[in-house]
C-alpha cells in the first residue's frame, strides 16, 4: 500500500476535493477540521455532497458559502446554543441554493460509516423503528434475521470519496495519532476512497499516550500540518474549545449579510497559511 505523504493544505484540498464529490469532514465536537473546511470554501468547490453526523458550524459555513448540493447528517444544531441558521436558511428558503437532505439518527450514521470501514454494503441495527425518518429516504430498510426471523433495520454503507479529519499528531513516517473523544473518525477514514488529515504537529515518535487511536500511514492519503486547524473546535492537549465563538456564531450566522461579511473577512480573503 502506498504510504501517506505530506502536503500543504491548499495543495491537498485541490488534489482530493473535487466539485460534485462526496466528502465527509468528521470530528465529534472535538477535532473538527475547520481549517480544511475553510480551504474548501476558498477553492470555490461546488455541488458537494457533504456527509457528517453533526454538521456543526463547519457545514453551516460551507452551506452558506454555496459549496453544498446535498447533506447527509443526523443532528444539525449549534451544540448547546441552538439552530444552525445557514443550514436552516438553505432548507427553509433555498439560500444560497437549494439543499437536498438525507437525515438519519446518530446510531444509523455511525453504523453506516462502520459498514463502510468493514467493506460491507450495509449495517444492521435496532433503529428508526416507528419514526417518520423512514418515510423520507430509501436508505433505511427492513432486514430479517435468518436465524430468528426477527425484523431489524438496515442502512447502507457510507463510502465517501474523501474523508477529512483533524488529528493531534503525525510521525515522520506519516502515521497519524489522535486521542480524547475520537468519535467516528477511524471509521470515516477507513470507509473513504481517500483521506486528508490535518495535524497539530509532526513529532519524531509517538510517546505512550492513554486513549490514543493510531491510523497507520497506509490508510491515509495526505497529511497537512495545520496547527489550530480544529479551531473553534479543539484538539485535546493543544487547545480548548472556544465556546464563545459557538455562542457568537448564532448572531453572525442569523442574517445573510453578517454571514457574508464574516465569510469575506475570516475565510475568503485569508490565505491558507
Amino acid at each position: 500500500m502506498p504510504a501517506a505523504t505530506f502536503a500543504a493544505l491548499d495543495e491537498a484540498v485541490a488534489e482530493l476535493v473535487h466539485d460534485g464529490a462526496t466528502v465527509a469532514l468528521e470530528g465529534f465536537t472535538h477535532l473538527i477540521p475547520f481549517a480544511a473546511g475553510h480551504e474548501i470554501i476558498r477553492q470555490g468547490r461546488r455541488d458537494l455532497t457533504l456527509v457528517r453526523m453533526t454538521p456543526d458550524l463547519i457545514y453551516d459555513q460551507l452551506i452558506g458559502a454555496g459549496c453544498v448540493a446535498r447533506l447527509v447528517f443526523s443532528w444539525g444544531g449549534n451544540p448547546g446554543v441552538g439552530s444552525l441558521h445557514r443550514f436552516r436558511d438553505a432548507v427553509e428558503h433555498h439560500w444560497p441554493a437549494p439543499l437536498a437532505i438525507e437525515e438519519h439518527s446518530h446510531a444509523g450514521m455511525a453504523n453506516r460509516y462502520a459498514a463502510g470501514a468493514a467493506g460491507l454494503p450495509f449495517a444492521v441495527l435496532r433503529g428508526y423503528t416507528g419514526t417518520d425518518l423512514v418515510a423520507h429516504t430509501s436508505n433505511i430498510k427492513p432486514v430479517t434475521c435468518p436465524f430468528t426471523g426477527e425484523v431489524l433495520t438496515a442502512v447502507p454503507a457510507l463510502r465517501p470519496d474523501v474523508t477529512v479529519i483533524h488529528a493531534q499528531q503525525a510521525d515522520r513516517a506519516g502515521n497519524v495519532r489522535m486521542w480524547g473523544i475520537t468519535g467516528v473518525q477511524k471509521e470515516a477514514v477507513l470507509a473513504a476512497e481517500r483521506s486528508l488529515v490535518t495535524v497539530e504537529e509532526i513529532v519524531p515518535e509517538f510517546e505512550p499516550r492513554p486513549g490514543a487511536v493510531v491510523l497507520p500511514n497506509w490508510v491515509v492519503s495526505r497529511i497537512a500540518v495545520v496547527p489550530g486547524g480544529a479551531y473553534p473546535s479543539y484538539a485535546d492537549g493543544y487547545s480548548v474549545r472556544d465556546n464563545d465563538y459557538y455562542l457568537a456564531w448564532d448572531a453572525i450566522s442569523r442574517q445573510r449579510e453578517t454571514f457574508l461579511d464574516w465569510l469575506a473577512e475570516y475565510v475568503t480573503t485569508v490565505g491558507s497559511g
Binding site: 446518530h106 471509521e187 486513549g211
Partner: protein, 252 residues
Amino acid sequence: MADWTSDEMMTIAAARALDDGAVCFVGIGLPSTAANLARRTHAPNLVLIYESGTIGAKPDHLPLSIGDGVLAATADSVVSVPEVFNYWLQPGRVDVGFLGAAQLDRFANINTTMIGDDYAHPEVRLPGAGGAPEIAASCREVFVVVRQSRRAFVDRVDFVTSVGYGSGPGDRARLGLRGAGPRMVITDLGVLEPDPDTCELVLTSLHPGSSVEQAEAATGWPLRAREPLPTTEPPTDHELRVLRELTKGKAE
C-alpha cells in the same frame, strides 16, 4: 413564592427522578444539567453516558456540548461513537434515557426534526434526530425534560423523531421497541406520566406556584390530572445552591 425560577424547579424535579446507581444516557442541555445535578446531590453513583462515547463521565462543570474535553478527561472509558451506540445503548443495558424535545404529543412521541405539514418545506427546520430515536427505543425507561407550552405540547407531533407510545397502548410492543418508553415528562409547570391504560400523558404533579389551569393552557390536548394532584416538593436550599454553582455563567 420562594426565590427560585420555574426552570430551576424543572431541573431539580428532573434530577430527583434519577436513582443513585442508575446508568443514564444523557442528552445535552436540560437533561445534562439535571443529570449532573443529581450526581452532585442524592445520586453520587449515577453513571453518565454521553453519545460522544464518554462512559461514566464525571464533569466538574457543565459541558456546553456532548463532546467537551471534560467529559473525556473524567470518564471511566472513552469509546468510539459506533461502539457507544452498538455495545452500550442498543442492547438495553442503560437504565434511563434522558431527552429533551421541541415538540411532544399526548402519547409522548418526540419531534426534534421539523415544524410544519410538509417535510420538504418546513416552517421551522429543527436540528434533527441525533441519538434520540435509539435512546427512546432502547433504554429501560425514558425521562423527558421540556418547557411546557401550547407550541411544544401538541395533540400529535408534526414529525415522529423518537417514538413514545406511538398511537397508544401496544404500539411499542408491535414495533419491537424493547424499553418501556417515556415514564416521566418533567416540565417547568409539573410532571406528566403516561396513564397505564391509555398511555396518554396525565399531569401527576404540579410544581409549587403553578396551577392546573396554567398547565391546561400550555397543553395542546385536553389535559387530565391525577386526583388528588400532589404538589412537587419545592427545591431545597442545597439543591438550589448546587444547581446554581453548576450553571454559573451557563445559558441553562
